[in-house]
């Protein structure tokens, strides 16, 4: 379970960073940045995560070693942990891009205009005004993405990382009680998603202070 949470949190970090860059790119004035971000989100959201994971796990190995060969490095082994974390982060970066883009668009332009009128630079406006205000709008989508991400970490067992799904398979095979072991894993996932649900509700309340409810 510790490994699952580790993979989940690390890939969440990667996906948030990618998502922020993606959202900025999608809303930027540069056509190249916009189309690059669009290709990224469309491709990722159109292909199953399992397929992407195998492409990056097996294919990434070859690419890295081809580059390594030409630079005269030794053989580099990409561990399932690195491949799994990177892939999940990469996949959910695309989903986060869409969530953050919606959040940024929901920030009222008056606030940004006011900040500009104060003479803040573009980056300052983004970090001091847009980012904190967009959290409230992006939070529900972010929460959904996190839940799906946490469940997607089960896939790393397919590329050979010894997470709790993999261990349950081994233990179930040895004791001939696979149902019991997989059920425990399912309950552990329920704990993760249930606790996150509580946490997200709390965060949602906190960030919506001062918003009138209908």
């Amino acid at each position: 379970m510790a490994l699952t949470i580790e993979v989940a949190l690390l890939s969440l970090l990667i996906s948030v960073i990618l998502g922020l860059f993606g959202a900025i790119a999608k809303l930027s004035k540069s056509r190249i940045a916009r189309s690059a971000a669009t290709v990224y989100t469309t491709l990722i959201r159109g292909i199953p995560d399992l397929v992407l994971m195998t492409i990056i796990f097996y294919g990434g190995q070859i690419i890295v070693n081809n580059i390594g060969d030409s630079l005269g490095w030794d053989y580099i082994d990409i561990s399932p942990f690195v491949a799994g974390t990177l892939t999940i982060g990469f996949i959910f970066g695309a989903y986060m891009t869409e969530t953050f883009r919606g959040g940024i668009l929901a920030v009222s332009s008056g606030e940004i205009e006011a900040a500009l009128a104060f003479g803040m630079s573009g980056w300052k406006v983004f970090f001091r005004i847009t980012l904190p205000l967009m959290v409230r709008h992006a939070l529900p989508g972010f929460g959904n993405n996190w839940m799906v991400l946490a469940k997607t970490t089960a896939l790393v067992s397919v590329i050979g990382l010894h997470d709790m799904v993999y261990n349950a398979g081994v233990a179930g095979g040895a004791t001939r009680q696979p149902f019991t072991f997989f059920l425990v894993v399912a309950l552990m996932f329920l704990c993760i998603t249930g606790l996150s649900d509580l946490g997200l509700r709390w965060a949602n309340r906190r960030y919506s202070v001062g918003v009138r409810k209908v």
Binding site: I47, P48, D49, T54, Y58, I62, L155, V185, L190, G194
Partner: protein, 230 residues
């Protein structure tokens, strides 16, 4: 890129595509059939109906599809009673295990989507139906359910795409669907890029078809919301 490998194995991929489509369609249809009663139970005022449905939805949305599939495929053999019953014919086959797991999973998600849509029914519609003397079942059949299906459509389109993506898991338990075909090609020739990217390309095409199909349905179902053109 070695295109010959892809071309030589195209029949394998096309067969896999067929299996994928089959899996997804059967799972979606039976899952939807299961989701409608579940959603109705989840909005009912009777707590004996509501809590089982809510816990079903909570379980299937809270755990990974992979674990649910393993529970059925590996787990069911643990029980003597199942091994000796007629159901063993189903649980012995990876194909049926995958279909049952997918159907149960998508039923959970679809029920949640429908529940939200049913709860959003404008109260005026229900009042109007009551005023015209409709019975409870007529009210559901004619007013609440059709309106909810319409409201649920965009979210359901996403769910169908997720089901397509989830169906790749069938390749893990020995079924030769698109992903299974890619796995076979990869292990035979060791060409991870060619094999998996081809599968990814096919999945991408399927995704676009689904998006296009739902756009088309939305155009028909949302006619009343379109701005008037003179």
């Amino acid at each position: 890129m070695d295109y010959n490998v892809i071309l030589n194995n195209l029949p394998l991929y096309l067969n896999g595509l067929l299996v994928t489509i089959q899996l997804v369609l059967i799972a979606l249809v039976s899952g939807f059939g299961l989701a409608v009663p579940l959603a109705l139970m989840a909005v009912s005022k009777n707590s004996y109906l509501r809590y089982p449905a809510k816990s079903y939805i909570y379980f299937f949305r809270g755990t990974p599809l992979l674990v649910q599939m393993f529970l059925l495929y590996y787990g069911m053999g643990q029980f003597e009673a199942i091994r000796e019953s007629v159901f063993w014919m189903l649980f012995r086959e990876a194909y049926w295990c995958a279909i049952i797991a997918f159907a149960l999973n998508t039923a959970g998600y679809t029920a949640e989507i429908l529940r939200g849509a049913i709860e959003q029914t404008p109260f005026g519609e229900i009042e109007a139906a009551n005023a015209s003397g409709m019975s409870k079942s007529t009210l559901y059949r004619r007013i609440i359910l059709p309106g909810s299906f319409r409201r649920a459509l965009p979210a359901y389109g996403n769910e169908v795409i997720f089901m397509l993506h989830g169906s790749a898991l069938a390749g893990v338990i020995t079924i030769v669907d698109l992903f299974g075909a890619a796995k076979i090609v990869n292990s035979r020739y060791f060409v991870p890029f060619e094999s998996f990217i081809t599968a990814g390309f096919f999945y991408l095409c399927c995704t676009f078809c689904i998006i296009w199909f739902f756009k088309w349905v939305e155009k028909h179902w949302y006619v009343h919301l379109r701005p008037r053109t003179s």
